[in-house]
């Protein structure tokens, strides 16, 4: 009764992954932080914290609050900036035998483009993920990711300067995510990842104030899974590029749900914070599920939802 090991390999716009499980940006540091808990060569890819042109201080503290089956974060995209990233973090990343994806963002179009240019030059970077859920400073703070034209402009600007697969990450805080998905696909996204966090708030009735110094924060974790799953389902059906599912994935079962509705890969965020070994358990769980169901290639499962 010995069964062959099921193949979990998937492909994202030419990028071959040993399995569809990777971290979500901002919940995995720059990778090295997790090396004591997790074999970085067991996961499909490594994903970095979001990088910007200049170092960014982020928001004042408190930056996190727990909610029912979720958490709010208002880290504010604190990061070392692209130059320090190249100097201090890339040397470690290039030793890994796992694809490295760098998440990045800007507040203005030219910032996005400059970072993209710098990332193009780094061989150790296998793909990039563009976070368009940031306020557009030029357009008075509206979020790039909620405006199809602004999003398209950023995506095509970056696409032009970039020599690697481009993943564009969508925010769920929109009326119709398929509009955004089509806009970024048309302007050059090779892969779409969704979703980022839902904007939320927590208040403290004892201190009569908002929990987070920043006021609002991004909601992540199991609480958002139904919304994320719905959006991934919609986006998969709206575009023809591969989609990475994100939102509340804690277990192999959760990951299998996103794959079932058609995501080619998944990102694990909050779960890494709760359990640094989460992704390893998820990979094992997916493999076990495939064995139990007689699935010998995960691609048979992807998008196999009966409707």
């Amino acid at each position: 009764m010995s069964q062959p090991t099921p193949s979990l390999a998937v492909e994202l716009a030419g990028l071959a992954l040993r399995n569809p499980v990777m971290p979500a940006s901002g919940t995995f540091g720059y990778g090295q932080e997790f090396a004591p808990y997790l074999d970085l060569e067991k996961i499909g890819a490594v994903m970095t914290k979001g990088i910007s042109l200049r170092p960014k201080a982020g928001n004042p503290t408190p930056r996190i609050a727990e909610t029912s089956s979720g958490m709010l974060n208002a880290i504010g995209l604190q990061n070392v900036g692209i130059d320090a990233f190249i100097r201090d973090k890339v040397p470690y990343l290039q030793t890994l035998n796992t694809p490295v994806i760098v998440n990045f963002f800007g507040n203005q179009l030219h910032e996005y483009i400059e970072v993209a240019e710098k990332l193009s030059d780094i061989e150790a970077v296998d793909a990039v993920e563009l976070n368009i859920s940031c306020p557009n400073v030029k357009q008075g703070g509206i979020v790039f990711g909620t405006e199809p034209c602004a999003a398209a402009e950023v995506v095509s600007g970056v696409r032009e300067k970039l020599n690697k697969p481009l993943i564009v990450k969508l925010t769920p805080n929109v009326t119709d995510i398929t509009v955004m998905a089509r806009a970024v696909e048309e302007s050059g996204a090779d892969v779409i990842s969704c979703v980022n966090t839902l904007t939320g708030m927590a208040v403290d009735i004892e201190k009569q104030c908002l929990h987070l110094a920043n006021g609002t924060g991004g909601l992540s974790g199991p609480a958002i899974k139904p919304v994320a799953l719905r959006m991934v389902y919609q986006v998969v059906r709206a575009v023809s590029v591969p989609v990475i599912g994100i939102g509340g994935i804690m277990t192999a079962k959760d990951a299998l749900e996103f794959l079932l509705v058609g995501a080619t890969a998944v990102q694990v965020g909050t779960a890494n914070l709760v359990n640094p070994g989460a992704m390893s358990e998820i990979v094992d769980g997916i493999e076990q599920f495939c064995r139990d169901k007689g699935i010998d290639d995960i691609n048979q499962w992807i998008g196999s939802l009966q409707e």
């Binding site: 901002g26 919940t27 995995f28 540091g29 932080e33 997790f34 004591p36 808990y37 914290k49 170092p55 960014k56 201080a57 982020g58 503290t61 408190p62 930056r63 996190i64 609050a65 727990e66 029912s68 089956s69 979720g70 958490m71 974060n73 880290i75 604190q78 974790g221 199991p222 804690m250 909050t270 890494n272 914070l273 709760v274 359990n275 640094p276 070994g277």
Partner: protein
């Protein structure tokens, strides 16, 4: 630094609202350092979602339960019930499962000083126990200034004294020891031992006051900070505290969970200089 799926050895109330919990933790007696902490996943279900950070109170080894079995290494925590996570912890019993991540962070650095002064307020006494153990073992003469609102907040006094620590108690309501703040005692001790190494852990206002006194006396200070933490391993940047040189455009945030929780006071911004520890 490991993530253990393990079990509780005991868990009991030691003072109103304060509990002491021992968790089976192979390796901790050898590796855990004074001032380090653990992230405890209180139950394996979804609520509460995040782990909770707790200072390491003690580590040790119990004799094997049955002959032929290895001895049982454990870590002990002391915690105060303040919210949903600690409420749930208080209901746990011997044999219940938890997940333990640690030992984490940077602990206290025992300096050469012969007359170290430890200052602890309430639950801030917890990480000082292991430090006192280390310092006593090295033959130092340890003074511990213990503060709290009331006598119930003065934890483990006999255990500290059994180590040979000289204890000085102050309570806000005078229900034990001196009435008043622990800082009054600190002033007197520093007058007597100028330049003594001070180690402090407790609520932020106490730390601010301790820092102000130490700065005036130009005496070295290590403080253990608290912060809201999500990951405990430096990944989320939820727990940062502004470093001495921190400015908006030239951020110098320190991660409490990785670069702390114990910091040399010199590395931090303190109220007088515009920030808050």
């Amino acid at each position: 630094m490991q993530n253990l799926k393990t079990v509780i050895l005991h868990n009991r109330e030691i003072a109103p609202g304060y509990y002491r919990m021992a968790i089976l933790a192979p390796g901790y007696p050898q590796t855990a350092k004074a001032g380090q902490f653990v992230m405890l996943r209180v139950q394996l279900q979804a609520q509460p979602l995040l782990r909770r950070p707790f200072g390491i109170f003690k580590t040790g080894t119990l004799p094997p339960e049955c002959s032929g079995m290895p001895p049982r290494e454990f870590v002990e925590l002391v915690y105060k019930v303040v919210g949903s996570g600690t409420e749930l912890m208080a209901t746990l019993q011997r044999g219940d499962q938890v997940e333990l991540l640690g030992p984490l962070g940077e602990g206290f650095v025992a300096t050469e000083d012969e007359n170290p002064i430890l200052v602890g307020g309430g639950i801030g006494l917890v990480p000082l126990f292991k430090l006192a153990e280390d310092l006593c073992r090295q033959g130092r003469k340890v003074r511990l200034l213990m503060g709290g609102r009331t006598r119930d907040d003065i934890l483990g006094i006999t255990e500290f004294e059994r180590l040979g620590v000289e204890t000085y108690v102050s309570t806000d309501d005078g229900s034990l020891g001196e009435e008043g703040l622990v800082t009054a005692v600190l002033e007197r001790k520093l007058a007597k031992y100028p330049g003594a190494q001070v180690y402090a852990c407790g609520p932020t206002p106490m730390l601010n006051a301790v820092h102000a006194i130490c700065a005036t006396h130009s005496t070295p200070l290590q403080v253990s900070l608290e912060a809201l933490m999500a990951c405990g391993v430096g990944a989320c940047l939820g727990c940062v505290v502004p470093g001495k040189e921190h400015r908006e455009d030239e951020p110098d945030y320190l991660c409490t969970c990785r670069q702390g929780p114990v910091f040399d006071a010199e590395l931090l911004q303190w109220p007088e200089s515009g920030g808050a520890a």
